[in-house]
């Protein structure tokens, strides 16, 4: 079996996948009668060429880091957690309850409490499918998908019938008090030199980066991570080593759910400042693509999250400044997911073939 050198595997495969996705996106844009080069210019300028654009790109990035990490840690234990979306929405409920029920004196304590609450709610939402998988052998993919629907329905019920303040028209909680409002990047000393206008990216970004570091530490430096990875590679071997499979499923899924839940600190507490319907806006699913593209490594996840942040923000700019509908960003994201995830093997085979070609020439 021919293999690629490591640098090609880590750098070249995602890069070539992206180029393919970009090429097909260009064809699609051309087909609807628009200019691909113009579109790319708008996307790059709107998301990367100004501090304001970066403020949005990093806001999306923060969410995607959390959901990408959630998929990553479960993946290393051999679990495919598709339920990030539902876990994030439940995390949003945790944030809302923490912010509304207790009058916090300062945003920092509120942040700590809301983070713990979000993580706990997300973890519980993931623990139920995990328990079913560990004890009853139900398939984690199926149950986590179903739990996304249950979460959405539960949130709608709570927003409409329980949490909605009397007299309010839209299904949402009350606004959080001003005291729990998180500092955005333009309010943080040092960062305010770069971000001069109000941006949605907020302190949660640093929690996301800390979480990435923590996930790396857990997976590759602790006994727990060692056992999770061993279990993920081979369940029979894990049994031989005396690693309890049920425990590994529970722990990996709980951490995964907690990470997905934490995402809501960014959007619910940091941006919307109240809980809305469908607060996670698909970020749970984007996390799957982020983890795939990031090769299930926290560093890769952070980089892939920036890329998807760019696609999200750039896509919004397209809708704003061109005749290209905002839905096109879904097409572009879909193509990126298709090439980086599903067609990964195809791109790899192509590169292996090209490399072997180069090698033969050297010999001759």
């Amino acid at each position: 079996m021919d293999r690629l050198p490591k640098w090609a595997d880590v750098v070249l495969v995602p890069l070539v996948s992206l180029i393919f996705a970009a090429a097909i996106s260009a064809i699609v844009i051309k087909a609807i009668g628009q200019s691909p080069s113009e579109a790319l210019k708008v996307m790059v300028e709107g998301s990367l060429m100004s501090a304001y654009g970066w403020g949005y790109t990093l806001y999306y990035t923060t969410s995607f880091i959390f959901t990408g990490l959630a998929v990553t840690i479960a993946f290393h234990a051999g679990m495919f957690n598709i339920g990030g979306e539902g876990q994030a929405q439940l995390g949003g409920l945790g944030v809302a309850l923490a912010c509304l029920l207790i009058p916090w004196p300062h945003w920092s304590v509120a942040l700590l409490a809301a983070s713990l609450s979000a993580a706990a709610f997300g973890a519980v939402w993931a623990a139920v499918p995990a328990y079913l998988a560990a004890r009853r052998g139900s398939h984690i993919v199926i149950t986590t998908i179903m739990f996304n629907y249950i979460a959405a329905a539960l949130i709608v019920y709570l927003l409409v019938d329980v949490l909605r303040p009397a007299g309010q028209m839209d299904p949402a909680t009350a606004r959080f008090p001003k005291t729990v409002s998180l500092p955005t990047l333009n309010q943080i000393p040092g960062f305010d030199l770069f971000f001069q206008k109000e941006v949605p990216a907020n302190v949660t970004l640093f929690i996301a980066l800390a979480a990435a570091w923590a996930v790396w530490l857990i997976l590759w430096r602790t006994r727990l991570g060692y056992q999770l990875r061993a279990f993920g590679k081979s369940e029979p071997a894990a049994r031989y080593a005396g690693i309890n499979p049920a425990k590994m499923i529970m722990i990996s899924m709980t951490i995964s759910g907690a990470l997905a839940g934490l995402m809501s600190v960014n959007n619910v507490m940091g941006e919307a400042e109240r809980l809305l319907q469908n607060s996670s806006e698909g970020a749970g699913f984007i996390g799957i693509a982020v983890a795939l593209m990031g090769r299930n490594h926290p560093v890769g996840v952070v980089l892939a999250a920036v890329l998807f942040g760019f696609l999200y923000q750039g896509g919004a700019e397209l809708g704003l400044w061109t005749a290209i509908p905002i839905e096109l960003r879904i097409v572009v994201q879909g193509l990126v997911i298709l090439f980086t995830g599903a067609l990964d093997v195809m791109v790899r085979m192509l590169l292996v073939w090209l490399f072997s070609f180069g090698r033969k020439r050297q010999v001759a």
């Binding site: 079996m1 021919d2 293999r3 530490l217 430096r221 602790t222 006994r223 060692y226 056992q227 990875r229 061993a230 590679k233 081979s234 029979p236 071997a237 049994r239 031989y240 080593a241 005396g242 690693i243 309890n244 090698r359």
Partner: protein, 523 residues
């Protein structure tokens, strides 16, 4: 390329060699699997090919059967240069292959399997009738009797192998390649296979036998070619060589074939197993009431054909499978079911376990060597830096030391397990388990897929552990290994122990009968 031409037509030209390989080379990336290999196999002979794992035997046969294409070199079939780009071409050129792992459809009958891929026309009836006729001829001619209407899943392994041979003959193979054919057979079945092969040879068929068992080479082949590290180190007439010379050619140095071990000095009972039963996940009883003791300083060998409950015995003792009955270790009952019956508690009780299937149980193939050295002992205090973190540096240092003591090559702790050869993988597992200084070592198929040089080393380690006063339970399907290592032999058949024998007084015939379930009066 008219390689599909009728080979029997060519026999008239009577080329001296059925197969001739000239200067075959094949590289996988930087690894040169075959280097300028040339062999000539005379028509109507049995030609053995031996070599250690990774010597390039399988690659060479895969090139001959069209799975790989050689980078350079030429293949001549009956004197005619022949291109073999795929296995269909190989079949058309008259080459048949019997793989180590059979390629049979379990819930098809023998006849259906034989015609699979060689059906003629859309309706099966005609092909089936023809196959039935051909099969009955073949059976008569070569002692290849198999019930054509039996389902494969109901046949013994030996019979399944005959179906594979019939498949090749049905496709009019003149050249038959057998890859490690006796690995799964009882001694009696192996003898029968050799009679079949002799019969085929007498009828003018050419047979290539790939094996690592020197005894078989000596017994049945006419010529033998030895491969080492991708090159052909020599082809000799079997009658003019000896096992010692072949082993030396294979390894490149003198090898001790007999295990050098003194008389046992058994002490107190370490392990006592009483009426042990194990059911698999389908509820089928795999272990049907087994009782035995092992004493300190003693090797108990469990002989038997694969699949008669040996795996389940090891798994029950190793805490992997749930069981009923009693397992008493150093006077204490071990838990047999529930959360406390696991690999960790077994290790704490002083049991180390070298599993039968190192690639699926004993190692994580994607993990690096040092991570595998912690496997099962990841809770050991010396591998922890503090309450939270593991001490990866200490682990890597320990791995490097173990690799040196056990001569693991290459001695690089950061190489993934899958990058080591079978023998070196096994040395990593054996080093990990033996260096824990266990009271009892469970060791399953210690030398399966392990090259001769490493076999010698692993056997020495097992004997050294015994001489240090430890108890050892050895499970192996290699009768030679059981006979040469064990102080006592128990034979397992159909989930039961057929009896105990003394290796000094028993012989292969007696053990072979017990392995086939014939008890000869004594229980």
């Amino acid at each position: 390329m008219p390689s599909g031409a009728n080979t029997s037509g060519r026999q008239a030209t009577a080329a001296p060699f059925a197969i001739e390989l000239k200067g075959i080379s094949k590289a996988f990336g930087p690894v040169q699997a075959n280097k300028d290999i040339s062999i000539a196999v005379p028509r109507g002979t049995i030609h053995g090919i031996i070599g250690e794992n990774g010597a390039g035997k399988s690659t060479l046969m895969s090139i001959l059967y069209g799975f790989y294409r050689a980078d350079s070199g030429e293949i001549l079939i009956n004197g005619t240069p022949t291109a073999i780009p795929d296995s269909q071409s190989a079949i058309r050129a008259g080459i048949g292959m019997v793989f180590q792992h059979f390629k049979l459809v379990q819930n098809f009958t023998v006849l259906e399997n034989v015609i699979l891929g060689a059906e003629e026309g859309a309706m099966l009836a005609r092909s089936l009738a023809k196959a039935r006729r051909v099969l009955s001829d073949l059976s008569r001619e070569y002692e290849l009797d198999v019930d054509p209407d039996a389902l494969i899943e109901d046949l013994s392994v030996g019979h399944q192998q005959r179906v594979e041979i019939l498949k090749a003959l049905y496709r009019q193979a003149d050249i038959l390649i057998l890859d490690e054919p006796t690995g799964v057979l009882t001694p009696a079945e192996a003898d029968h296979l050799f009679r079949i092969l002799s019969g085929l040879r007498d009828q003018g068929k050419t047979i290539i036998l790939i094996t690592h068992k020197l005894r078989e080479i000596m017994e049945i082949t006419d010529h033998v070619s030895v491969m080492r590290r991708g090159t052909m180190v020599g082809t000799v007439k079997t009658a003019e060589t000896s096992p010692e010379e072949l082993a030396e050619l294979m390894v490149g140095r003198k090898v001790l074939l007999e295990v050098d071990k003194g008389a046992p000095n058994p002490g107190k009972t370490v392990l006592s197993v009483q009426d042990l039963h194990v059911r698999d996940e389908h509820g089928v009883e795999r272990l049907k009431g087994i009782s035995f003791d092992i004493r300190a300083g003693e090797i108990l060998g469990i002989a038997g054909v694969a699949g008669n409950g040996q795996s389940e015995l090891l798994e029950a003792l190793g805490g992997i499978a749930a069981a009923t009955g009693r397992i008493v270790m150093n006077g204490t009952d071990l838990p047999l079911t529930g959360a406390t019956a696991n690999g960790q508690t077994r290790r704490e009780a002083g049991i180390a376990h070298v599993p039968e299937d190192r690639q699926h149980l004993g190692l994580i193939m994607d993990f690096e060597a040092w991570e595998n050295v912690a496997f099962g002992y990841h809770n050991a205090p010396e591998y922890q830096k503090n309450a939270l973190l593991m001490d990866n540096d200490a682990l890597r240092a320990d791995t490097a030391a173990k690799m040196e003591r056990f001569d693991v090559r290459p001695p690089i702790p950061t190489l993934p397990a899958k990058s080591f050869s079978g023998g070196n993988q096994q040395k990593i597992v054996v080093a990990r388990e033996i260096e824990r200084n266990p009271d009892l070592l469970l060791i399953g198929q210690p030398t399966r897929g392990v090259d001769i040089g490493a076999i010698e080393f692993i056997h020495k380690q097992i004997v050294a552990l015994r001489d240090a006063g430890k108890a050892i339970l050895l499970v192996s399907v290699e009768l030679d290994e059981i006979m040469s290592l064990s102080d006592r032999i128990a034979v397992m058949f159909d989930g039961k122990l057929m009896g105990f024998r003394d290796p000094e007084t028993t012989n292969e015939r007696e053990l072979g009968l017990l392995m086939a379930g014939v008890s000869e009066g004594t229980p």
